[in-house]
């Protein structure tokens, strides 16, 4: 048992220690906080004031700077949730379970943001608040998957059981996402062949996609901040009997 060499790097084991994670995230948080603030403010100004209007859609095109980052983030967040859940299932790593749990509410709200901006953008572009566009429908299904994970987690009393069960559900969802996406795309082309999609533009000019890039990175930083805040809360709550948490609380 003792001399078995592991193929996993050292930091992977450090991640298994809630205390190490708590302190490490505490050190990262200010940097990511400043980064989020800077990128989101700069990106918003750039996208609202300096980016040129689209020759077809006019200024309503500026919604893309919220909609696309939100859509990308909602998808990556699900991926992270499923992967963290798998790590928690396989290596019984508590912190991975906490990450998976903390991803769900953020992902769900971001999916709502992507849906809301998609619907608002649809009004001037398509003339209707809601169109069964393939991407919007896939995003709606993604929101349903998030809601299922949240509902299952809250229905179970024990933290460990809930984490394991939601991890299985998230992994099943991860296998299903490509199938759902493909089937919805296919269904959509069958039902409405002549709509142009929201986001697919033939070659966006640099002054349009550069602010988009800033916003995407800004959204990722925001996600990191929100996730770390939540995971740190989870660590404190679940490790409340540990001596280091008691020592920490004594200082308060």
């Amino acid at each position: 048992m003792a001399e078995k060499k592991s193929w996993l790097p050292r930091w992977f084991y450090q991640l298994a220690s809630p205390r190490w994670c708590y302190e490490f995230m505490g050190r990262l948080l200010p940097w990511f906080g400043v980064g989020t603030l800077f990128l989101l403010v700069a990106g918003t100004l750039w996208s609202l004031v300096y980016a040129p209007a689209d020759y077809q859609q006019g200024n309503s095109f500026r919604i893309i700077y919220i909609h696309v980052p939100a859509a990308i983030l909602a998808q990556s967040c699900y991926m992270l949730m499923a992967i963290a859940g798998a790590i928690g299932l396989i290596w019984k790593m508590k912190v991975a379970d906490m990450v998976a749990k903390s991803c769900a509410p953020i992902g769900a709200t971001i999916a709502i943001l992507a849906l809301a901006t998609g619907a608002i953008w649809g009004k001037p572009t398509w003339g209707a608040w809601w169109v069964w566009d393939a991407r919007l429908t896939s995003m709606l299904v993604l929101l349903f998957l998030y809601l299922g994970v949240i509902a299952l987690h809250s229905a179970m009393e024990s933290d460990t059981t809930a984490s394991q069960a939601t991890s299985v559900l998230a992994l099943v969802g991860l296998v299903n996402i490509p199938i759902i996406k493909y089937s919805v795309d296919w269904w959509n082309t069958l039902h409405q062949p002549a709509t142009f999609t929201l986001t697919e533009k033939p070659a966006m000019p640099t002054e349009m996609w550069l602010p988009l890039l800033v916003m995407v990175i800004g959204f990722y930083c925001f996600f990191a901040v929100s996730l770390m805040l939540r995971v740190r809360n989870e660590i404190l709550r679940r490790e409340r009997r540990a001596s280091w948490v008691r020592a920490l609380l004594d200082k308060v």
Partner: protein, 58 residues
């Protein structure tokens, strides 16, 4: 600068409602995701400290 004056900026070429609504919702959702965990942390620490005091006083 894509706008000449401030009222043009607010109007967004007639699409002001849609653009500002989108950015407003984004602001609300981002703020919720940052404020909620911070409030939860405050609440949690108060709870844990109270529990710790109760246990040590016994």
């Amino acid at each position: 600068m894509s706008f000449d004056n401030f009222s043009d900026f607010l109007a967004m070429g007639g699409h002001g409602l849609y653009v500002w609504l989108s950015y407003g919702i984004a602001l609300v959702i981002v703020a919720i995701n940052l404020v909620e965990p911070l409030m939860a942390r405050k609440q949690l620490i108060t709870d844990l400290v109270r529990r710790l005091r109760r246990e040590s006083s016994n």
